[in-house]
């Protein structure tokens, strides 16, 4: 019998990773959360569920996603060899579909007929609307009014797929507020409604369940890198908002001591200004059903997060990340809006890939560290989504930057005169 310890066993029966996680929800929801936990445990062991999932992953989602050697990026950085795990090539354009597919199959097993979700950048909303359409279920997506404005293409996609998008104006009108309203809907409609949470957060079993559905990313990466390089990677890098794409990549490697892992948070305007880096700039607290690191005041009031990427501006992070950070298994870095934008443009121009602004944070981190590493160092970046949805944000930033450059040029000319 193996006595090897594993970092992959969590959470415990009450949903805790160390002292993070748990099930901090209103009593109305508790029976439902417990029922989901039981049903998920049954489903994982059901051949029928696993087979249906595999077939849909292959034929509907388009898995396996390629592991692509970014030759020109590697050459430009002049250090480590950089691979991209191409989750952007999946149906709906991001890793979010992996999780939604798993959850809708559970909803179907539980006899639920109505799906609700929250979304920030809209990718989770689009993925939810997609699976709801595929399985013929009513779908309601809560989205902050600010995010609706900055992510119009995804709002239109959700509507085309038959989902009702409800603008949330409470609070700052972003992802956290959308999640509050989705929880309010769920409390009201517990009998027929399944809440598809989009990240590795929320009450137990969501953090573990979403992680498991996303772990296909790391499982494939493992096989693919061994096939290509004959060994495991040295470093895995992924962006972290709630942290589902990162955990999906990291989790199958957690027990491989030789593999370093870096989660990249959004430093926004800088860690001393407005940002969304819950681990780098937050403290432990309880929100949305779990204990984790949060951006909050000393009085325990939740603060608004900021990132140029709508998908990252959430004031919390999945509880397993909080634990992995605490035990030092995964390290976390933070990248600013400007650094992410620069990385976005770099990948567009030298690899012909338009990445999501979320992913651009991970790329920016690698652009910093790869040049300092030897050529035989293997880095895998999870390319979690594509950037079509971010066009208006990026173009607005380019216009603003051009305007500033013009102003500065004007000042310089005046100065000379």
């Amino acid at each position: 019998m193996s006595t090897a310890t594993t970092l992959r066993k969590g959470p415990d029966i009450n949903g805790f990773f160390g002292h993070f996680g748990g099930r901090f929800v209103a009593e109305t929801l508790m029976p439902l959360v417990l029922e989901l936990q039981e049903e998920y445990a049954r489903a994982r062991n059901s051949k029928e569920f696993v087979d249906e999932m595999d077939a849909l992953r292959r034929d509907f989602v388009g898995r396996k996603s390629p592991l692509y050697l970014a030759e020109r990026l590697t050459e430009q950085l002049g250090g480590a060899k950089v691979y991209l795990k191409r989750e952007d090539l999946l149906h709906t354009g991001a890793h979010k579909i992996n999780n939604c597919l798993g959850q809708i199959l559970l909803a179907k097993r539980m006899g639920k007929t109505r799906i609700i979700a929250e979304t920030g950048a809209g990718m989770h909303g689009v993925a939810t609307a997609t699976v709801a359409a595929r399985f013929g279920m009513e779908c309601v997506v809560y989205m902050g009014s600010v995010d609706i404005h900055r992510q119009q293409p995804n709002v239109q996609r959700m509507r085309l797929l038959g989902a009702k998008v409800i603008p949330v104006t409470s609070g700052a009108g972003t992802l956290k507020d959308a999640m509050n309203d989705a929880l309010r809907d769920w409390v009201t409609n517990v009998a027929d409604t399944f809440y598809i949470i989009g990240t590795v957060a929320g009450p137990h079993p969501y953090p573990a369940m979403v992680r498991d559905f996303q772990s296909i990313i790391g499982e494939e990466t493992r096989e693919q890198i061994i096939e290509r390089e004959g060994r495991l990677p040295d470093t895995l890098v992924a962006c972290v908002g709630g942290g589902s794409n990162a955990l999906g990549l990291f989790h199958p490697f957690l027990d491989d001591k030789s593999v370093a892992m870096v989660g990249v948070e959004a430093a926004g305007e800088g860690l001393d200004k407005r940002h969304a880096a819950s681990l780098k700039g937050g403290t432990p607290g309880i929100l949305h059903g779990n204990r984790t690191f949060l951006l909050q005041s000393a009085d325990g009031q939740i603060q608004d997060a900021h990132s140029i990427s709508a998908g990252l501006d959430y004031p919390g992070i999945g509880p397993e990340h909080a634990w992995l950070n605490e035990i030092g298994r995964v390290s976390y870095a933070a990248i600013t809006d400007d650094e992410a934008l620069e990385a976005f443009h770099t990948l567009c121009r030298i690899e012909g890939i338009i990445p999501a602004l979320e992913t651009a944070h991970a790329i920016a981190y690698v652009m910093k560290v790869a040049p300092t590493l030897p050529e035989d160092h293997l880095i895998v970046i999870n390319l979690s989504g594509r950037g079509d949805k971010d066009m208006s944000t990026v173009l607005a930033a380019m216009d603003a930057s051009a305007e500033n450059a013009e102003k500065n040029a004007g000042k310089a000319v005046k100065g000379e005169a």
């Binding site: 901090f24 209103a26 009593e27 508790m30 309010r184 607290g285 009031q301």
Partner: protein, 276 residues
């Protein structure tokens, strides 16, 4: 022990064959001064027990009126320390009306559980309801609260079935708060017949007084529930009095006059029943 104020309150009302009127108001709303004036005025207006909402930025089980009240209170600089200060100031004039704090776990967790319970007990708090702390996490706050002499009042809902109810009741004290409908605060009005049946079911499991809340807004609704429940809780309708008033002073007066109306209805509920 301060916690016995709740027990004494229910005992006294039982002897009069009356249900209790529980009023909910948000601490610090519309501002500290008027909120304290409301708090002080509630017992005289007929509130038997006062629930004092601790504002939180993300009150995920609350409807719009209470969300907005919390936001306004926080924008005005309200915090946990000031909520406890309000209770202290209230206690200078009133030693008999029970006060139950209602809120979410995070502000308490950040204040520090032990420090919070010490300060709450010292301020004259009798009980607390923490919406997002199910019995599965009793060790976090519920058990320490009871050890500190503060009742931990639990919510039971239509989804709390017979298998789950005993677990919900195990560390509950003071009274049980029955949430009459699934949904957020201030949503649909409960059907009295349905609630009466549910209460009969719950009473098979406990001798604790059972309060009914969520969706009760008017005197006739309160009266109907007070015929069979041990207490009737009204919150959103009172908070809306403040939201709809032109001035803070008018909001205060409107809260107190609605409380008076509700109190009369609750007091007379069983008399009316006996006559008819």
């Amino acid at each position: 022990m301060s916690a016995s104020r709740i027990d004494r309150c229910f005992e006294a009302l039982r002897q009069q064959d009356c249900a209790a009127l529980v009023t909910f108001v948000t601490a610090g709303y519309p501002d500290y001064r008027h909120s304290l004036e409301i708090l002080k005025g509630l017992p005289e207006a007929g509130a038997d027990i006062i629930e004092l909402g601790m504002p939180f930025t993300d009150p995920m089980a609350d409807g719009v009126p209470i969300q907005l009240a919390s936001q306004r209170a926080l924008a005005g600089g309200h915090n946990t320390t000031k909520t406890l200060q309000m209770v202290r100031e209230f206690r200078e004039h009133n030693q008999h009306t029970p006060i139950v704090l209602m809120g979410y776990y995070n502000p308490i967790y950040c204040y520090g559980v032990e420090r919070f319970l010490n300060d709450a007990a010292a301020s004259g708090v009798d009980g607390m309801i923490v919406v997002d702390l199910p019995p599965e996490h009793d060790d976090e706050l519920c058990v320490p609260a009871r050890e500190a002499g503060i009742h931990f009042i639990r919510l039971a809902t239509p989804t709390t079935d017979a298998a789950r109810l005993p677990g919900v009741l195990v560390n509950t004290s003071g009274f049980l708060y029955y949430v009459s409908s699934t949904g957020v605060t201030g949503s649909v009005a409960p059907t009295a017949e349905k609630v009466e049946k549910e209460l009969a079911r719950i009473r098979q499991h406990t001798n604790l007084p059972v309060a009914v809340g969520f969706g009760i807004r008017t005197a006739p609704q309160a009266e109907r529930i007070a015929r069979f429940a041990d207490a009737v809780v009204v919150g959103s309708a009172l908070v809306e009095c403040i939201a709809n008033a032109d001035t803070e002073a008018q909001g205060r007066d409107d809260v107190l006059s609605l409380t008076q109306e509700l109190s009369v209805a609750v007091r007379e509920a069983r008399t009316t029943l006996n006559v008819s």
